[in-house]
């Protein structure tokens, strides 16, 4: 392998001899040193070009030493350099020479700026895989050790991310050393380093032998989970997910659960929040038995935590938690141990908690089945539909499909209507916008009769809303309704109402008619478009507001393809020609554009 690479390299060098003298390294280095940052950045981004031009040998002997020596630049340049070097193995002569890339990356892994350091670590991780086991021990592991005992926190932080990539392929003696280094970083004096170590603890545990996990990782985990800084403790919770996956149920119960239990009751809400946030992962990792014994009680506490942030995070997990319970006995557990707490949360004092619950609670109906849903969940849904906070109501309405599958939406329709009407008229236009987006879905579930009777007038009212975004969304909503209920329905219910607006004194409403026609013509088809819509559009070409007129031109261009040639030639063409002579430049412009697009010239 090495021989082949060697000959190739030789050939390359021989073939390019004449050129090499043209590009002495000094010139390139000049570029990399240019005073203008942007030029330096450009040069660094083309580093692979330079390396290829130089050939592998000169890249190793001249370019890399230069890069290593001159690492003092703008962070932006360093970031680009760190990224480039990750893909450089081929350019220095393949895996046998991958270690040549380590010195510049080592320096980059110690700089202050986090993004540069992280990128350097990422590249180092990539390159570590290209090292042979021998090279790994000869070059890579010593680098990790140097970083791990660096005197400023930046290098030690970077080291934390490198242990897990070199451990699996190291010999036993070296493995012991690596573990030793990791251990000392876990009790580093600087909280930054402890945080970095804690965040890599799970990853490192995964590559260790089971015995070492029990004898070394678990004590580290316990220590970090009781660190004096809550920012470290909460990272230990994250690591817990990985560690738990590795251990048997008995070991878990004895070694990990006491610590996790403490975390769930930590005095800092941030730690408790983390437990709530990672709950589903933890649940899967510890398995059903421990979930029932330990996690469910902890979860109950989180649901009634004194800090709203924690309750909201826990409320978010309610559905997943229930879903992941073992089928056997699931219903009883939920009914007896979870539902009572959920009932409390429905009337929580904090709107974020209620809204978090509202976004998942509907999902319980599929898990609990029809009977329970009607008896126990329905009252909660109804209460939330009347909640003072629009977000809560909206979250319920947006998840109606889950309930629809189980009990049908009719059960709710009496309460739904007032909730929808209220949201439809909410003072905040974003709330109105959100409910509009669910309208087609609701219409589908509630059926055409209910819609015509109760909701149609709302949809029409949105078309004359004073916020453009609402009018626009309402227009698009109409298209979806027509797709759902069909052309005939459109012809009878929607189209006449839309067309009436063409005579509205407000020109914005007249334009809405045009926008609706643009949107609906395709869904409604040729007949309705030609017979009902086209005459109205043509009539509006005489509008006194120029904005309306040029929108007529745009509309004609838009609906043209739906019309037949006859209508185009006989009716559309003369009108567009007339608009093409309009006194307003915009009207002229759009009329001419329409003429050329529709090929009526």
């Amino acid at each position: 392998m090495a021989g082949v690479a060697g000959t190739r390299m030789g050939q390359g060098a021989a073939g390019g001899d004449g050129d090499d003298s043209l590009y002495p390294i000094a010139v390139l280095i000049d570029e990399l040193r240019n005073e203008d940052v942007q030029l330096r950045l450009n040069s660094i981004k083309k580093l692979s070009t330079i390396a290829l031009a130089l050939g592998v040998e000169r890249t190793r002997t001249e370019l890399l030493p230069f890069l290593t020596d001159t690492i003092y630049d703008e962070d932006e340049v360093l970031l680009a350099l760190a990224e480039q070097l990750g893909n450089f193995t081929g350019l220095v002569g393949g895996p046998d020479f991958a270690h040549c890339l380590l010195p510049p990356l080592e320096s980059l892994a110690t700089v202050e700026e986090t993004v540069v350091r992280d990128k350097a670590v990422e590249s180092l991780r990539q390159i570590s895989q290209e090292h042979t086991p021998v090279a790994l021990e000869a070059h890579f592991v010593p680098l990790v050790k140097r970083l791990a005992s660096g005197d400023w926190f930046t290098s030690r932080t970077s080291a934390c991310g490198l242990f897990s990539v070199c451990y699996p392929r190291a010999s036993n003696a070296v493995k012991a050393e690596i573990r030793q280094h990791f251990r000392s970083l876990c009790s580093d004096d600087t909280p930054m380093v402890r945080r970095a170590a804690a965040s890599k603890l799970g990853e490192f545990a995964k590559v260790l032998e089971l015995d070492s996990v029990k004898s070394e990782i678990v004590p580290l985990f316990t220590n970090l989970a009781s660190d004096e800084q809550d920012s470290v403790r909460l990272l230990a919770v994250e690591a817990c997910v990985n560690i738990a996956q590795l251990l048997s149920e008995d070991d878990l119960e004895a070694l990990v659960m006491p610590t996790l239990g403490q975390a769930a009751e930590d005095k800092s809400w941030r730690v408790r929040y983390m437990v709530a946030d990672k709950f589903s992962e933890l649940q899967k990792a510890v398995g059903p038995k421990i979930t029932l014994n330990d996690l469910i009680p902890a979860f109950q506490n989180l649901l009634k935590d004194c800090e709203a942030e924690v309750r909201a995070a826990a409320a978010h997990k309610v559905k997943e938690l229930c879903e992941n319970l073992p089928m056997e006995g699931r219903e009883t557990i939920i009914m007896n141990q979870i539902l009572p707490y959920i009932k409390e949360l429905v009337s929580d004092t904090n709107q974020h908690v209620k809204s978090a619950l509202a976004s998942v609670i509907m999902g319980l109906s599929t898990i609990l089945g029809k009977g329970n849903t009607i008896e126990h969940l329905l009252p909660l849904f109804l209460a939330q539909l009347k909640d003072e906070c629009p977000e809560v109501r909206l979250n319920i309405i947006s998840n109606l499909d889950c309930v629809n599958e189980v009990i049908g939406i009719r059960q709710l329709s009496q309460s739904l209507l007032p909730a929808i009407v209220e949201l439809a008229e909410d003072a905040k236009w974003r709330v109105r916008l959100a409910i509009i987006e669910y309208m087609p879905l609701l219409a589908g579930q509630l059926g055409v009769e209910f819609f015509d009777e109760k909701l149609n007038s709302l949809c029409m009212a949105w078309l004359v809303d004073h916020v453009y975004a609402i009018r626009e969304a309402a227009t698009n909503g109409l298209v979806k309704l027509v797709q759902k209920f069909g052309k005939e329905w459109a012809q009878n219910t929607i189209v006449p109402k839309v067309l009436v607006m063409a005579n509205d004194p407000n020109y914005l409403h007249r334009m809405t008619t045009l926008f609706c026609i643009n949107a609906l013509s395709e869904a409604c088809g040729q007949e309705i478009t030609t017979k009902q819509m086209l005459p109205v559009v043509l009539k509006m070409a005489r509008d006194q507001v120029a904005n309306v007129r040029f929108n007529v031109a745009k509309s004609l261009q838009k609906i043209g393809p739906v019309l037949d040639t006859n209508a185009l030639q006989e009716e559309v063409k003369p009108v567009l020609q007339k608009l093409g002579q309009d006194e307003d430049v915009d009207v002229k412009y759009f009329a001419q554009e329409a003429i050329s697009v529709l090929a009526l010239a």
Partner: protein, 433 residues
């Protein structure tokens, strides 16, 4: 502990506690001889139980200390009395640090420091005074306090960008630095270079800039040899897009120049005045104006005069060009004043620079005849020499690209001709002209 979120709960109990605390405050403040040894543990325990708590999550996650009203601590009626008591306890003539140090330990200090993140400015004000007293009275805790402060700052800079008490901590540090013995220990120098200077890069700089600049200047007054490091550091973190921060940097730079030693000035004058020139050409008039104010400063002016052969060439081209092109009349007249000062300072040099500038301009004009008239964007002056360099650069990159392609074909052999675009990519290096 009472629940203050519910303002009607247990009013009577709250009143009793308030009265008791008031009494304690009175007592420790006015009576002598009450601080006997056995009460120390109880006092510290009472304080710990009351003030140490995990601060609640901010109600406004995008809290902007400049714009938004802070969330005030609801339990302040009690908390204030506890802080007041703590402060009077520390300041009492009877207070014995040797006894108290058994209870006021590192863990205590760490928790005290965590409270600086409180959103309530009243609480931070108390904490500031208290920590200052603690630093003054407990010699054994000093190094620890400094170390923990730098951990808080580093986390603030590199991890969170959020900590409410930065200004307060810096204010304490300002007076601590003031008291550093000479020569400065490496630890202190490292703190300046690796913590205080990077603090300039934080987004919310405006909240604590005055205190930060004070700390930096304190350091320089102690040890002038640090000047070069500091100024190069500031130039490294010089704001690229935020003009508000740029004005602050200029202000700090002037404070530094006010105390700079001429021997240090010589070391940084060139990069510094190149940056000043860039600021003068900023389209934001406040930045340009702030930079031009440097010439109103007698001391800076004398430094410039002593080194005019280096400083003038560094700024001349920009000043001359901006004087013709800036949109803001105030800036233009300020620049005229500066140019006039230069002329009076060294007429000969001024004339030389004017002549060579015009010559370059002419060359540039010859190869690039139509200068855009309307957009008042200030371009870096493009001389013919620079254009030629750009051209060379473009050729270099093209040549490299071709060489690279040849190499690729050479190594991959003829068996599979790579599908490479043969048109040489337009060299990005030439993008300047």
């Amino acid at each position: 502990m009472f629940d203050f979120l519910d303002c009607v709960a247990d009013l009577k109990g709250k009143e009793v506690k308030r009265a008791a605390l008031n009494e304690l405050v009175e007592c420790v403040g006015s009576t002598r001889g009450v601080l006997i040894e056995p009460v120390y543990p109880d006092i510290i325990r009472m304080i710990s139980v009351n003030i140490f708590r995990t601060l609640p999550p901010s109600e406004n996650p995008e809290f902007d200390p400049e714009e938004d009203e802070p969330n005030l601590e609801p339990s302040w009626p009690h908390l204030q009395l506890v802080y007041e008591f703590f402060l009077r306890f520390l300041e009492s003539p009877d207070f014995q640090p040797s006894v108290a140090k058994r209870y006021v330990d590192q863990k205590f200090v760490l928790m005290l420091l965590e409270l600086f993140d409180s959103e309530d400015p009243r609480e931070r004000e108390y904490l500031k005074t208290i920590l200052h007293r603690v630093y003054g009275k407990f010699l054994g805790l000093r190094a620890y306090i400094r170390k923990q402060c730098s951990h808080i700052f580093l986390r603030f800079i590199y991890e969170l960008e959020h900590f409410n008490g930065v200004a307060e901590l810096l204010e304490i540090l300002g007076s601590i630095i003031n008291g550093f013995a000479l020569p400065l220990k490496t630890e202190h120098k490292q703190f300046l270079v690796r913590v205080l200077i990077p603090l300039h890069s934080v987004k919310s700089l405006s909240v604590f800039h005055a205190q930060l600049a004070y700390c930096v200047v304190q350091f320089l007054e102690k040890d002038a040899t640090l000047t070069e490091h500091v100024i190069r550091g500031l130039l490294k973190y010089w704001p690229k897009t935020c003009t508000q921060k740029e004005v602050m940097f200029l202000g700090e730079m002037e404070e530094i120049l006010d105390v700079i030693e001429p021997s240090q000035f010589v070391k940084i004058q060139e990069p510094l005045f190149k940056q000043v020139a860039r600021c003068v050409s900023s389209p934001h008039f406040q930045v340009a104006e702030r930079a031009l104010y440097f010439w109103n400063n007698e001391y800076i002016l004398s430094l410039i005069e002593d080194n005019c052969h280096t400083v003038l060439p560094a700024v001349f081209g920009t000043l001359y060009q901006v004087s013709k092109e800036h949109w803001n009349q105030t800036i233009v007249s300020l620049i005229y004043n500066v140019l006039k000062t230069f002329m009076e300072m060294n007429g000969k040099l001024f004339d030389e620079l004017t002549a060579s500038y015009k010559l370059e301009k002419q060359h540039a004009g010859a190869s690039e005849p139509s200068y855009p008239l309307h957009p008042p964007i200030i371009l870096p002056s493009t001389s013919s020499r620079e254009q030629q360099k750009a051209q060379e650069r473009q050729e270099l990159w093209q040549g490299l690209e071709e060489l690279r392609l040849r190499r690729l074909q050479g190594t991959q052999g003829a068996k599979e001709a790579p599908l490479q675009r043969l048109t040489p990519q337009v060299a990005t290096g030439g993008g300047q002209s």
